[in-house]
Symmetry: D2
Subunit: 359 residues, 4 copies
Amino acid sequence: MGNTFGKLFRVTTFGESHGGAVGAVIDGCPPRLAIAREEIQLELDRRRPGQSSVTTPRDETDQVQILSGIFEGKTLGTPIALLVRNQDQRPEAYDHLKDVYRPSHADFTYEKKYGIRDHRGGGRSSARETVGRVAAGAVARKLLAELHQVEIVAWVRRIHDLEAILDPAAVQREAVEAQIVRCPDPEVAARMVERIHQLKEQGDSVGGVIEAVARRLPVGLGEPVFDRLEAELARAMLSLPAVKGFEVGSGFAGTYLTGSQHNDPFFLQDGNVRTRSNHSGGVQGGISNGEDLHLKVAFKPTATIARAQETVDRQGRSTELAAKGRHDPCVLPRAVPIVEAMMALVLADHLLRWRAQCG
Amino acid sequence: MGNTFGKLFRVTTFGESHGGAVGAVIDGCPPRLAIAREEIQLELDRRRPGQSSVTTPRDETDQVQILSGIFEGKTLGTPIALLVRNQDQRPEAYDHLKDVYRPSHADFTYEKKYGIRDHRGGGRSSARETVGRVAAGAVARKLLAELHQVEIVAWVRRIHDLEAILDPAAVQREAVEAQIVRCPDPEVAARMVERIHQLKEQGDSVGGVIEAVARRLPVGLGEPVFDRLEAELARAMLSLPAVKGFEVGSGFAGTYLTGSQHNDPFFLQDGNVRTRSNHSGGVQGGISNGEDLHLKVAFKPTATIARAQETVDRQGRSTELAAKGRHDPCVLPRAVPIVEAMMALVLADHLLRWRAQCG
Amino acid sequence: MGNTFGKLFRVTTFGESHGGAVGAVIDGCPPRLAIAREEIQLELDRRRPGQSSVTTPRDETDQVQILSGIFEGKTLGTPIALLVRNQDQRPEAYDHLKDVYRPSHADFTYEKKYGIRDHRGGGRSSARETVGRVAAGAVARKLLAELHQVEIVAWVRRIHDLEAILDPAAVQREAVEAQIVRCPDPEVAARMVERIHQLKEQGDSVGGVIEAVARRLPVGLGEPVFDRLEAELARAMLSLPAVKGFEVGSGFAGTYLTGSQHNDPFFLQDGNVRTRSNHSGGVQGGISNGEDLHLKVAFKPTATIARAQETVDRQGRSTELAAKGRHDPCVLPRAVPIVEAMMALVLADHLLRWRAQCG
Amino acid sequence: MGNTFGKLFRVTTFGESHGGAVGAVIDGCPPRLAIAREEIQLELDRRRPGQSSVTTPRDETDQVQILSGIFEGKTLGTPIALLVRNQDQRPEAYDHLKDVYRPSHADFTYEKKYGIRDHRGGGRSSARETVGRVAAGAVARKLLAELHQVEIVAWVRRIHDLEAILDPAAVQREAVEAQIVRCPDPEVAARMVERIHQLKEQGDSVGGVIEAVARRLPVGLGEPVFDRLEAELARAMLSLPAVKGFEVGSGFAGTYLTGSQHNDPFFLQDGNVRTRSNHSGGVQGGISNGEDLHLKVAFKPTATIARAQETVDRQGRSTELAAKGRHDPCVLPRAVPIVEAMMALVLADHLLRWRAQCG
């Protein structure tokens, strides 16, 4: 009952990792938006496995089909169904996981909650379900760009303890995409790649922090009191596999400041109300204030590791498990387009909500 | 359009700081739950202004009225309307704020979004709107206690740089309530009180971190993929005024670990599947796993400060503002029952959702 | 869990017949709408008991209080809480109903569903809960009038077998209000009054049909496929106590025509696309087409009658029941403003939905 | 934004008549329900075009694919995606409709609302979108049968003025399916078939009334005040193409009775509370009372007719239109499984809602 996101730009995703297909249905997208299959495919290509040495070797091309809602290149205002067939299915590769709970995975909780689970590749709990999010996010992104020239950029800020501290206002998508690890600082990026390779060889994995901005947001997005913009973004990010933390603006670091240090003074620039600093991260009182929306997301180290781990099985016996097969030693490079997609979904939804009440 | 929280245990709050009343309507509470007015009042008393030297001197007793939904001490299964009249109204005290935007407050964004705002005490953007949340949270809490003996405890972990690092499993509500600052470590608490007084005298303010646990949660709460339990908790917390960050389990700190360090090994204890560590924070794959639910919330320093600050007014002129009147130099002590209330709302909602689909 | 109506203009009602109060919270009303307390009170006065010889003598003035969301006569864009205290409480008058199920009332089903019920005056199942709907409907109505000059008029078309067949396009509110029975044909109205008096004297009751139109609706309201405009109107009407049937446009009578008789030919009038007939009732494909929205609603005879009836009690014993106390022998005159209120709620909601997606 | 039905058993449909596919995603179906593809296909076969001489000759086998949510024959508790590819696509057959509005169709309103439309076969406004409803309804039906042995039967009661008045309690599905027109009275059915053939030859069309019951419903389904069971059923039925009226229980006819005639006396039967009559139609106060749920639905004559009709085109010119191509002269025979599917969706949703709040 939790597979729909958004109130007006509504996305419902479906699909298990090794079932017939994964995908999404978008309901509420405004009509007459020009969107090509290639624009959606482009984002899926950024997310797909097998794209570099720091991702899983599992190879899927993830070609998207548009089943409805788009006619002669434009949205109809009707539901847009997007489908990606699962190709690289090797269900037998997962037979050894049928009866055992992988530590820090969802095997145990799914089994207990539903009384049944698709053990093949994690089933619905697999990060493969984000295919639908990314496809739908591409449509949301196009909408935001068309209506307000909104630009969304995310990048890898930190992996393990390797951190690139950059001016969020200056980061460009091209610089992010130039690095396979999606950290726009080439020198830090090189060390990150090395660290990932090294931990992979040790049968281990690693996490880190993704940073993101949305630029040229109109003032007024966000619906107090519960649907504050940062609340919806927090929910969006914590709904992603492996995410354990979220910050908007100054985040946890801001709690070390006093009010006089932290407050963002208002001033006028070319007739517009601006703030001198952006500790608020682009939102005040739950509503966008026209500054860059700025957030950070913590991803834990990948739970799947090759090293042997203590666990139990469905029959209630202690056992050991060492992952076979292919997996990402670090999810962050592929998570960059996913974080962007979730931001786009939140922002598109709130843009429509703004139009409804205040438009 | 964002004033309702929850899908099955649905809470709609209403009220401006200096309007007629604040309150909440709960729709979906199961029938036959015994709940006394006093149980709701108790939580409001923990939240009310004027309760100690570290809170605002604004004095309101915040007496709750039950208007509907409870009959002879038990819930009817019909909407429960809870009302608190606003008493300490000094609207004239806010005349000087009619035309000026307080830095890092919602004045500017509300004005731009709605084209109108109630400037008296922040109107709807005031933390006073959390009265309705706390009242409704008391009902949710009772439901959780009755059905599963769930216990929710939050406390102040850090103020500014003064931190109390405690075993979350051991913190008791009594110890929290014994300190006016609601940090259960008496020594750190004393220093926190001193720091708050000191910054208040300087016309400044301070923030910090609240930590919280929920104990004895059943396995199975949380609805992947979007309504993961941690996603709903993140949304709940970021929907609170002044919150800038959220962590579940290991949070941002966990990103410095490798997978082999971070994973929580499963083992058997008295026939139950348990985990040896709890980096997951009680949720795996978005679903509660039976361990303590564990989270942290970052509150920025109070935006209202007595010091003069640079800002602009509605007419687009640069100006200076120094807060008059009464306000909290640090919101955390009063935010403890609010954080608990939001946790209760999320958990009660998901308990009902679990019953619907898997019960 | 079913006490909220609407997706964007959201109304949550609360209150039992003999509890502390009845009322409503509106979330999503656009800001800056001018609305006076008197405009809301006016509609409540049309609905209130004791207004004429054909309604219940139960006397309540039903004075509305605005608790939030309106500031200096204009909506803030925040939740609007509307409250009416219950005054004429004689709970002891209902002691004899504590243990017995009134035929064709909700006593039995509430008891079975919730395991508890407020027996005083029907509790939540009383038509008194429509107070909140009418109060909220007055705000919706004002919004529709301000934005599009939409006019909503309902009237009593038939009581028992006494029917006034009028041109829906010609009926004016003043003519409706001129008759206590709210049938705008004075001659039929007089006979209706007589019939109601006669049946009341016999300890019996009577039902009938209300007809309604909405004029000057913009083209484009309604959201296929499930939230077609007529579907939402049907739901709105069938959610009213005592309603057993709904028709839009030609309704059941239209099924006796062939397609060539029933289809509404398009033609041009002053550059606008119009239809020569209006069997469609103003909606085609679930979307308003600019013609008058036209519907009919069937209300069963009042279930409360003075005559003795066969029934059973909570202890599972056969018994007889004859209603004491005050009740409406015919609900239709008071139901006219309620039907209008529900139409206004549906239309206001869809107006905002239209703005969100297509605005 | 109106393509999702239900709150807990949520169905989102998608697809245009001549796009790539039509289908549905179900979110919230309980886990471990055994359901075979054949059980879904069976219902689609009852709905498919080309099944008899009284339906359109358009020939589509409408084979359903299960893309997700079902594993080894059982539901997983995850979204169930159901897909039917569109096969019989002859888009060029619709070229003549690109610029003209078919009377009493949705061409004009879609064009005005969305500013774009897929003219091929009505696009999203085609009754073909009910494929997704019927597929999802088959799953809902199985759930109801498994949990409470609920049985849903609908049949054609009247076509034009040819009516079969039957005891609703006695109608069996086998008798309905034995007639191509789906009226279980063979003699009336024969005349109905003749009438349909006759009107088709005349280039005309015809409508009528479908009647339906649900048997063995538990007491307690339905959520006052807005989500009364009959309100949800009314919405479900009026959301179907061509529906203009809805009745529950006595409907419009009941308004000719007095209260003493209409009330359903309670009595005891084998320890159960029953009613002697069923004018209520199985619901009292919006909640099922354990009697048969009983309703009627009015379908207007098919709007597509071969006769020439007056209309206008997109360029604002008067013109004439005579339908070419294949269409149903009477939708009722194929609407029977659709009405049943919508009943099943409403009831499954409310069964889960009952479990959440009162279970």
